[in-house]
Amino acid sequence: MNIEQLPIINLLLFLLMALVIPLLKRRPFKLTLILGFIVLGFVFVSSGYLLWYVNNIDIIHYTFGGHEARFGIEFIIDPFSALFTTIIAGLATIIYIYSSGDATEGIEKTEYGRYYVLLFILLMSMFGILYTNDLFNTYVFIEILSITTCAIISIKKKKDTYTAAFRYVMMNELGSLSYLFGVALIYMATGFTNITLIGETMQNAYALYPVNIIIALSFMIIGLGIKAAIFPFHIWLPDAHSAAPSTSSAILSAIVIKVYILVFVKVLFRVFNIDILNEMNISTILLVLAGVGMIMGSVFAIAQKDVKRMLGYSSVAQMGYILLGVGLLSFDGLRAAFFHILSHGLMKTALFLSVGEIIYYKKTRKVNDFDGMGFIMPVAMGVFSIAALGMIGIPLTSGFISKLNLGLAVLDHNQVIFLVILIISSLLNVIYYLPIIILAFLKNEKYRYRMKSIEDTPRTMIAPLILLGVLIIILGLFPNQVMILIEAAVNSIMS
């Protein structure tokens, strides 16, 4: 067995795990959980090994069936895809451990098996999107991802989840069909679906068929923008993410929408090259979308009474930060965006999981009911505070590092207005996160006589939360090691 077989083995392991779960229906559920953990652990280790391999030895090209890249499907494992698959595998493992602590809130017992089937297919499609080097193959994986996401949203058999899921299906289908239209136009102009080959012929194609390329680019920006919840196309996100069970909200908000923005980065930098983008002045469009999203997402978040909807709108604002980094179309911008993808992934996971624990034990999702919660559930509320402070961008957390990098990148490009927007958005974050923290730890009227009921939760739920809190702080204190990996990823995507 060769090292280059590892990516496909990762995908197949997820797929086989999803197929095996229904067959294990009669066995105790613990068996499924342990098997799933082994699979996830193996994939995490193998993608970590791949990350080391591609950074130190060589990039892996894997063609299916030994066909040439122009006929067949090609996987490329480079620092970019290896880094983000490792991040996804790590976050998914943490969320998986948490969800095994019997906290898949609101799902009926008989549906547990189906939930894990969906989870593993979701992971498979995300790995596929990152590994593949083929536009049409990306489309297929995107569709698998959106169907499983919808199913995971509607798995709670409640009224509002159905309407949320329906809206999600419609919006996402608009997005993927737009993306497919873009692929068709590019195929028309270049004759390839392989990303590397398209990238090589793009300059010629642009000279010959400029209309095709411009329309294709705009269709792809809109399609992937809808899927990544970039500001004017975000309307499906808060409903969908707040209706889903907490663990899947964590996956959706922390990982899934990031995968779409990574596809977006791939399309921008590998399919269309920077010269064409500069000529069309795409940068300005993206920056304006990002700026509006950063402000408006936070403004909407302030108005929310439901804590999970608030987190959903906060995701919209954070996607604006990431798009701001991408939209600068430069090394620094991408570096900041990639770092923010990682740090926001950690923080959003921590926020959703701690809120999930509170919802599970106290059965409340109103922001007002969080008063005094810090005395009853110190761990959950503590991790919530760390993550929320990170969102605001307090030093010592990873959020500070990403905002610092973003600010420096923006200044490099003389876009001072966006620095102002960044600061305003951070202040708006303060308005909706800080009161929760302060009231949770300082206002102890409601629960004064109930100090006995201090949180009594399974260790499988506490441990991932503590791990996330520690990771956020470690990433805030020592970002350099990770930064090296991220710079390698940026170099591989820009070359």
Partner: protein
């Protein structure tokens, strides 16, 4: 005349784009959920037609090896094969969203988006 010739040459593409736009309009403007699903299907058909039309070669034959033909001109089979996958995807999306509509109808007794929003906001106010 030149315009007319251009239209006839590109009739496949024009038809495909027209279907796409019709579908988009249905999805965005109609409030009936079933009609929206139909809109998605029409949009999908538009994109698929566009894709298949790219692979068309005037005077080409299906790319099946046949010894009777001398110097055959084949059409490009790759777009058709790709679109097969696309059709599967749209079928599954349709099935899934129809089942969601069944559920919505059971719970709210309506499949009209405007009435649905009204019912949902009333429920929100009660809480």
């Amino acid at each position: 005349m030149l315009i007319l010739e251009k239209i006839i040459d590109n009739i496949n593409y024009i038809g495909a784009v027209a279907l796409f736009v019709i579908g988009l309009r249905i999805v965005v403007t109609h409030s009936n959920l079933i009609k929206r699903i139909m809109g998605i299907n029409i949009m999908g058909t538009g994109v698929f037609l566009f894709f298949v039309a790219i692979g068309n070669v005037t005077g080409g034959i299906p790319p099946i090896i046949n010894n009777n033909q001398i110097n055959p001109v084949y059409i490009n089979p790759i777009p058709s094969v790709l679109i097969l996958t696309g059709i599967v995807v749209v079928v599954s999306i349709t099935v899934y969203s129809l089942s969601l509509v069944i559920r919505i109808y059971e719970n709210y007794n309506t499949i009209d988006q405007t009435e649905l929003s009204k019912l949902m906001s009333e429920e929100d106010n009660e809480h």
